[in-house]
Symmetry: D2
Subunit: 129 residues, 4 copies
């Protein structure tokens, strides 16, 4: 898979009194990266919103992230299970890795509200990236 | 009207790099005060969520709000128009007023999605407070 | 003054259960617009962070803002007082104005922590925009 | 260790368009639980703010969390390493577990800004809980 990247410009209210970007903001940015990645695969915005559920997230805070410099958010690897996606993400600022994370998303059947196989067209799109 | 008050404990992520509570957090807390006030009048949670729309908000930042001390949020006055509520709110911390604000809420008919008269049972509840 | 504009891509967590962008997010985006505007005038990031204090904010919610479409944030007018700036802002989405707002920022002397005259080089930069 | 619990009342802006509490809010609430727990051990607020750094966080989303019902946040276990704390947390709503998480906090020497041994008085306080 080709790396998927987006740029995030830190906002003042995303800092905290310790002077750098708050850890809860990092978790929020992970959602931004995941959603933009899923939207890049999906056919329409509406479709994917209800077809994926976040099962778990793991974040390692490697270095502080600061206000004033753009952050690059990456999906560096996506492994597909039967009904799930595992996305490996990273954040970089000024040439330095600041965050590493992993999210497990479960594909849901919108009607039955239960896990369902990741459809083939998404698998193909992912392989073709 | 009797004053309506709630207590808010500032959270670390609600501060910013300037060392105090961020102004966007103050706007968010105003929503908390308004919602708890509306919920205190309403019969059920579900009812009011879609029956009020925020038309405008005005906030004066009188003094900085800090992490580490509880904040008292108040509705000090509520004036009722035909289809609207104007709520006058305040925030206090350690005996000092930090914020003064005003919000105009419009009562909506959920079916037609258009402004509708504030129902009598809410007017009565408000007067009786 | 020439209009100052930025683009904001709504994030999923900025919506709420009513299905559109939450009003507290709108207040947060206003900070983003103001900061980017001040940064466009200032010589360095660090300088302005402590030299401006938000005195008041007024926001009119004209129409709902939705997930899935970029928002244009504008500073359409900036009037300078002795020690303050009044910024008139707007938000637009899909060719429709959704928000109108006004913020009063007070210029602070960082040493004495008291209001001080907006310096001439900022006045000149503003006029020259 | 005796369980440490706090109560969190979900706020409207903490929901998202999917109709329940957003996952980034859950990460933010974890910070609230951790901070209140650390504050219950520490002698003063100021002390701990700079003496702990979040190294990693792991969150399992077991069930949806909803607006309208209080959430109980718990620290169910805290294991102490040389210079770190591992906190095991849970969230419950209406008698059902919704979230399970784990955070690794590193104790920092504020002067040297490097990891340092968790001081004995904190270890003792923790054992005595």
């Amino acid at each position: 898979m080709q790396e998927f990247t987006i740029t995030i410009s830190p906002r003042l209210y995303e800092t905290d009194a310790l002077g750098h970007i708050n850890n809860a903001t990092i978790a929020a940015w992970f959602e931004v990266i995941r959603m933009r990645f899923l939207e890049s695969l999906a056919d329409s915005n509406e479709a994917h919103l209800k077809s994926w559920i976040l099962a778990s997230v793991q974040i390692d805070f490697i270095a502080e992230t600061f206000y004033g410099f753009d952050v690059t958010g990456k999906v560096v690897e996506a492994s597909i299970g039967n009904s799930s996606f595992t996305l490996h993400c990273e954040m970089w600022q000024q040439g330095k890795q600041t965050v590493r994370g992993k999210a497990v998303l479960v594909h849901m059947d919108v009607q039955s509200h239960s896990p369902s196989r990741v459809p083939d067209h998404l698998r193909e799109k992912l392989v073709a990236r």
